[in-house]
Symmetry: C2
Subunit: 191 residues, 2 copies
């Protein structure tokens, strides 16, 4: 939980008493590699904060093809926000790629925490704003960049993901075929 406090305090300071209260809203969950945190069709009741481990969130289209929405490493927040906030069934899957410990925050707890502590309202606003601007960047990239540009930019922006996540998933996230990626980067890179 100390890591969570450090993470919150990157946005806003919290007192010992406040943090003792904040921590009561979270429950700890351990997740094994290949285990699903969310499956398409589930009701989504929680947002997750990744204390350690790695996840990918993906959508499966009607033809069975997987499309990656997000990688989440430690210190990231993750959920199907559409399903969470609209209280609908998820249309995405979230699977564990590396043994993990996550903190679960239910929608009810999240809203209560934000309502009771203005600084936590601010924390969540800043976090979702960061996610929003990152998505805008991704949309521009999907619409306007060629595969090589997309891969190189991603490599510069997210070296920690490049280190941790197999290349085939990164290609999928970037909408690049594995063949194109192998052509662009044939040498000594992690497959």
């Amino acid at each position: 939980m100390d890591k969570l406090r450090k993470h919150i305090e990157e946005i806003t300071p919290v007192s010992d008493i406040e943090f003792e209260y904040i921590r009561t809203f979270f429950t700890v969950k351990k997740v094994r590699k290949h285990q699903f945190l969310i499956q398409a069709g589930d009701k989504v009741s929680c947002e997750y904060w990744i204390a350690n481990g790695a996840f990918r969130a993906f959508y499966v289209d009607d033809s069975g093809k997987e499309h990656i929405l997000q990688f989440a490493l430690e210190n990231s927040w993750l959920s199907d926000y559409n399903a969470l906030f609209h209280e609908t069934e998820s249309n995405v899957n979230v699977v564990c790629m590396e043994q993990a410990e996550v903190l679960c925050l239910s929608l009810f707890a999240r809203e209560k925490l934000a309502a009771e502590l203005h600084k936590m309202e601010r924390f969540f606003r800043v976090k979702v704003t960061t996610g929003y601007t990152a998505q805008q960047h991704r949309i521009i990239s999907l619409l306007s960049q060629n595969p090589k540009q997309r891969y190189e930019e991603f490599e510069n922006r997210h070296p920690e993901i490049i280190r941790k996540i197999p290349k085939k998933y990164i290609a999928e996230y970037l909408g690049i075929s594995r063949e194109t990626l192998s052509r662009l980067y044939p040498a000594n890179r992690r497959e």
Copy 2:
């Protein structure tokens, strides 16, 4: 300004005294058709709330091709959030498509308002969360749907945009070539 109050109260009630205070943070700006609200390379100092009129936000890639990020009709919020929050130069353009009146809220005013009134912090959190889930939906659509599916779904979700915005811009937003769109929808539709 009454419309703004109604818009805020869709998320949170505000008292007369609170709204009198909130309104002081906004300045009114009239914008003519074809006029730019933001130009690539500008410093972005404001978020805009569209009281009436229509705008499109677009990115121009290195080859000069335009990629549409957003349409904004009345009651929408609009800015280059990446440039606004990081206080960097914009890489998008926002142009007026139909004579408009907008309310400008500077980043400083926005942060002050959110810090002073917890309910406005909540308002902005809810708004950006809605934008975030809409963008997630768009990313899934760009990655997994064919042009016909993208157009049909957009038509169902945004009938007001279909009515107001020329079809060529909608095609551009959806990443559909004009030729493909004309093939899919040859008859009696607005060009």
